[in-house]
């Protein structure tokens, strides 16, 4: 039994690694398809549209841009595995250095946002399922319909407008009160660092600033989770093993939450992994709306400044994060559903 699971983990890990390599290959291919010649590539790297041919030539030399593609890909791949995502076009420093201040901030935001979204979604989904085709069900449907259809920036704006500006309940922008002294950066994520350092003032300010953007991120996924949760729950409640559970004399609560819900949750895990990708994309917009200085903010700046390397680096990092998230989700799925461990 144990070895079964272990094998499963290994298989999934290999899968993830292969997909990762393919992903990097994809980015690489896209890059080279869209920027066909070494000269064009060099132009991108300098970031200077008026670079002289001499400069371009030296860049081509320095980066092996005229080498055969597979060699370039190999270099690229190895580079990434060592944390080298290229050199920033604007600031001429390694990308990773540029990004590392922002990464944990966004991770914190996305993870918290997702957890909130999933929890609320599961709850509303279960309620909708239990009250199928009655008022609460329709209410939930209207809610997730509107939240799903609204563009992310609209959600952000409305929350900002109503809660921060009109009601003055929470701060509108920023990660934390700028006048506060930050705690020593252990993880780089403001809330965690503040917790570790027991810097409660900073902690509280960071939490306050996190709530609105996190809820905006939650809104992104909440609709889908509700929808799938409802459908999955309805499906589970119809099954014979639920009837059997009733036959064993278990109370309704135990049957609904202990048996049906436990089974209904399983497909949600896959959905959550999918949502993670979605949420990271959404974070870009949310961070812009809330001036929340994370990876999204970093990327938006990169776009405005035509900093191609930064954008590509962001893409690759996001891909890595998503693949890791999917891997974790796969493992969790196997923990939850014993049937899967054989594959």
């Amino acid at each position: 039994m144990v070895s079964n699971f272990g094998l499963f983990v290994v298989r999934r890990a290999i899968n993830a690694a292969v997909t990762l390599v393919l992903l990097i290959a994809l980015v690489f291919v896209l890059l080279h398809v869209l920027v066909p010649s070494p000269v064009a590539m060099a132009r991108i790297i300098t970031g200077n549209p008026r670079a002289t041919p001499a400069i371009l030539a030296s860049i081509i030399k320095a980066n092996d841009l005229d080498a055969p593609l597979y060699i370039q890909f190999y270099n690229y791949l190895i580079g990434i595995l060592h944390g080298n995502f290229g050199t920033d076009t604007l600031y001429h420093v390694p990308e990773l250095q540029e990004m590392q201040a922002y990464l944990p901030v966004t991770l914190e935001l996305v993870v918290v946002g997702q957890i909130i979204g999933v929890l609320i979604g599961l709850y509303t989904g279960a309620i909708a399922a239990a009250n199928r085709n009655r008022a609460p069900d329709y209410g939930m449907k209207a809610l997730y319909l509107t939240t799903w259809s609204a563009p992310i920036f609209l959600v952000g704006f409305i929350m900002q407008l109503v809660v921060a500006y009109w009601l003055n309940l929470l701060p509108a922008t920023g990660v934390v009160d700028p006048t506060l002294i930050p705690p020593p950066a252990v993880t780089g994520a403001p809330i965690i660092d503040a917790l570790l350092a027991q810097n409660w003032v900073y902690f509280w300010s960071a939490v306050q600033h996190l709530i609105l953007p996190a809820f905006a991120i939650a809104v992104i996924g909440f609709g889908l989770v509700t929808r799938l949760g409802r459908a999955s729950m309805i499906d589970a409640l119809d099954r014979d093993y639920v009837k059997l559970a009733y036959m064993k004399g278990l109370s309704k609560g135990k049957v609904v939450w202990g048996t049906a819900f436990r089974n209904a949750m399983i497909p949600i895990i896959t959905l959550v992994a999918l949502l993670f990708a979605f949420s990271v994309g959404g974070a870009v917009i949310i961070e812009d709306v809330f001036a929340y200085h994370g990876m999204g903010f970093f990327t938006v700046n990169a776009i405005y400044n035509d900093d191609y390397t930064a954008v590509l680096a962001f893409t690759v990092i996001t891909g890595i994060a998503v693949i890791v998230a999917n891997f974790v989700a796969d493992i969790l799925y196997a923990v939850a559903d014993p049937r899967v461990r054989l594959t």
Binding site: R239, L244, K248, G249, L250
Partner: protein, 324 residues
Amino acid sequence: MDVENLAITYRTVYGTLKALNGVNLTVGEGESVALVGESGCGKSTLGLAIVRLLPLNASYSAGRLMLDGKDVATMSNREVVRMRGSTAFMIFQDPLNTLNPVKRVDVQMLEAIHSRARHTNAPFSEGEARKEAVKKLEDVRMPDPESIITRYPHQLSGGQIQRVVIAMGLVMRPKLMIADEPTSALDVTVQAQVLKLMRELQREYRMSIIFITHDINVAYSICDRMVVMYAGEVVEMGEAGHITRNALHPYSQALIASVPRTTKDQGRLTSISGSAANMLSPPSGCRFHPRCPYAMEICSSKSPPETEKDGALVRCFLHGGNTS
């Protein structure tokens, strides 16, 4: 258990569906009764109605369903919870879905034992419960119960799953066991084993059994009494052997006749013409009349009452009730 003039209706998007109409049935202690009929005739509905597991859009629109002296339709929720399992227990058709796929067999059996202990205010100890679970698995003739009990449902075969479910039922010590086509999804040899098991258990534990099936042969082999249902009504009821030898209602006759026999050359297989009654707007009068080879004029206008004949109960104008 005593069913009096029971009617069950479903509210659906297409209209009101009368799933059961005027059903009368009595099952005494230790009796085994088979509910026979084609798909959609209401036999499963009756089974679910007894344990109050009907879907939300169903209602007990008429009559009474007395279980152990109490009307199931009007029971409070607490009474229902207590009733399920200790008074009546139901097992289902599809082995794949009957057990909770994410929990091990021992966990599920212990759930049942724990639940029973709670309802009867008896002490519960996990060690004792475990032993009892293993013992019950032995009772259902499960080979190697110690290892089975540590497995997950997807690791068991269909026959094993049904045995586990029966064992779970036995744990609850019900007075009435309802089996809804428990062997239809199993292959023939396993089916025979499970049936044999159920017969033996019934004698050992003195349970009443209601066996729901579409297969007359299975019904005959396991039950003393047979109840033939069509389109939500009981059309014939009587002693099993009697009915198979000498069916009175045209539908019962057709059912029995359409079973191929391996012994003699029957020629072409007979079948029942027409298709199943539409439960949203059932045929007027006797619900079987559109397909009945002996249909008379009165059959399309009036619904035949239940009449006794030769020790059986029939709902057919051919055998009485035709007072014009």
